[in-house]
Amino acid sequence: MNKIGLIIRREYVTRVRKRSFIIMSIIGPLLFASFMVIPAWMAMSEDQEVKKIAIVDSSNLFMNVIQNTEYLKFDYLYNTKLNDIKDHFREAGYYGVLYISHIVASEPNSVVFYSDTQPSQATTMYISKAIEEYIRDQKLKAYEIEDLDNILKSVKTRINIRTIKITDSGQEKESHTGIVMVVGYAGGFLIYMFIFIFGAQLMRGVIEEKVNRIVEIVISSVRPFQLMMGKIIGIAMVGLTQFMIWVVSTFILVSIASSLLFPELNMTPTETVITQDIMSAGTVENQPQAPSEEMTELMGAFAALRNIDFGVMLGSFLFYFLFGYLLYAAMFASIGAAVDSETDTQQFMLPVTIPLILSLFVLINAINNPDSSIAFWFSLIPFTSPVVMMARIPFGVPYWQVFLSMGLLVATFLAMTWVAAKIYRTGILMYGKKASYREMLKWIRHG
């Protein structure tokens, strides 16, 4: 095995065996899977419990206005004062008390829901929507429009926007802006995180070798450049391994959890689309009540997930992860070589952290507006492109932009490594002397 291969192997094996790596490999997928599954599960399980809600209506306007759903049952209490029920609604078998004051039409804050648990957003939204619509209808009625009831029925069409993206080859693909944003954000954020975590690991590794003085023994056998590249590549492979473990185990965990928790979701894509079509276009009256709004959302999201080109996503993720890391790794390695201890690194961290944190800010802009000029420029600049471009790719980016951005990134990585190698070569053999930017410039010029 050649020498650089030996170094890569050592870096890889010692790091993968570390307890922290193993713990991260277990905790990561658990966290990601629970981020994906728990909110959906909570939204669903909440509605599966039948809740009885008492209505105390001092305006006397809302009799039979709020319709029962599968999980929400409303009791309109006549001649009951709020104080009679407020303190013992539990004993009476109610989940909560809805109080509507008599000034409800003019004062929007006069509807109060009393309960000893926080009601779900779906519950409060359902109630407020019913009341709003009823008040609006009543106000419309005051204009005495002919045949108003029928007009109202026919205008109440529920719209759920489906976005269909037409790809270059003319195929229609269903996309779902929400899920594309999540995928873009996750991709960019993961790269940001990986660069920081593994860049810092690399820097610590370089400092450790320097402080231990083992570096002198190693570079009496290999060239400093071989040692530096061996470390950089070895740690990159650790990162990739960690990422692969995360992706595969998260996928397995989510699959298991979703088949256990939501068997309804395991429909074929066509079934999903059909049910969705019925739900989105039908008038309120025709709508089957069973699938709740969250279910529709969830199914739409899953359908959209299926339509993101994961081949392209994964390919570009791996590219930007690898070269983004390599670019920053060169910087982290030269910082590690220039200092004598980890506490001295702070003064040099700024040029590394500022573009990284900046790219995180632009990332948020880019997922909301992937074709804005900020997103465009920052997805070309090599120091921010790995994070920002990842956010844009799920939305579809012209090929020339992607290739230009990749080319710039590779070129900058090569230049940065060339500079870093010079700093590294001089720095690892310098002890005691506090390095400064000016000193490092000299190392580059004379190295």
Partner: protein, 307 residues
């Protein structure tokens, strides 16, 4: 035959010239002392021999061939600042470092097993370096240096951190390595061990070579015409017998035996001194005092300071 030659090596750093036309020839099979005060340029020179850094000017030869990365296998280096990966296991670590030198895995394992048996440390194989005492770490470091059986070994302050027993063991190992045909460059401030081990020395200061050659020649060159006389009798009589051609340096007494050190001045000879003293006291011993390496070191560096 010289195993290693350096010819007019110049190495400049940003602010200083660390080596200014330094030359040395290291004979095969010698123990070659590389001496010099702190900051003289020894470490830079050692790093150049190890190809850690490249000289700005000058040529280097290993066994008559221009020094190249192929020679890394043939050189073993024990740096002054010892260092190993603290969290790595002993066996794994030594084999890794040996493979970096170019040894095959199976070769390294077999050789390492021999050394471990020799030092009776076989049960350390799976211990982490940080679990070992400092002396134990030193032993591991020594094995790292010699495992690939290099022709040229460079020891920078090898005895620092060793207790006397282990230092002695190390000394014997170094001598037996020389017996087996290795050449040893030995850099230290411990003049006693230089005296004991080295057959060649070079002394550099401020980037320049001040002394270079076989130990006998250097002693010869720096002899001060001083003799030690052991005698019985009256030291006062001896003192009055000495004329202006002799300088009495000191007198010591051990029961009825006296020792004086006398420097001969103005081209007088040892025979003249003997014949002067014979009638005065009863002479028990008579021998020339050669300067110690310590004395030579101090004298040469002081003279150089004046320049």
């Amino acid at each position: 035959m010289d195993i290693f030659t350096a010819d007019s090596i110049v190495k400049r750093f940003i602010h200083t010239t660390a080596l200014d036309r330094v030359s040395l020839s290291i004979p095969k099979g010698s123990i070659y002392g590389l001496l010099g005060p702190n900051g003289a340029g020894k470490t830079t020179l050692i790093r150049i021999i190890n190809q850690i850094t490249a000289p700005d000017e000058g040529q280097l030869f290993f066994n008559g061939k221009s020094l190249s990365p192929d020679h890394i296998r043939n050189i073993g280096y024990l740096p002054e600042e010892r260092g190993l990966y603290k969290k790595m296991k002993v066996g794994e670590q030594v084999i890794y470092l040996a493979r970096l030198k170019g040894l095959s895995k199976s070769d390294a394992q077999a050789k390492l097993r021999n050394w471990f048996e020799k030092f009776e440390i076989t049960d350390w194989w799976n211990r982490k370096i940080e679990e070992l005492s400092k002396g134990m770490q030193q032993k591991v470091q020594f094995i790292v240096t010699v495992l690939h059986e290099p022709e040229l070994l460079i020891f920078d302050e090898p005895f620092s951190g060793f207790d006397p027993i282990n230092a002695d063991m190390l000394k014997n190992e170094i001598l037996s390595l020389r017996e087996k045909g290795s050449t040893i460059i030995f850099s230290t401030h411990d003049m006693g061990s230089v005296e004991e081990l080295c057959d060649h020395i070079t002394l550099i200061d401020k980037g320049k070579t001040l002394i270079d050659g076989p130990m006998e020649n250097i002693r010869e060159q720096y002899r001060t015409n001083t003799y030690e006389v052991g005698f019985q009798g009256d030291p006062e009589r001896l003192k009055t017998a000495l004329n202006k051609h002799y300088e009495l340096i000191d007198t010591t007494r051990e029961k009825d035996l006296f020792r004086v050190r006398i420097r001969l001045l103005h081209h007088t000879t040892d025979n003249e001194l003997l014949s002067l003293l014979l009638p005065v006291v009863h002479i028990v011993s008579f021998n020339e005092v050669y300067p110690s390496v310590h004395d030579i070191f101090i004298r040469v560096v002081k003279e150089n300071k004046g320049k």
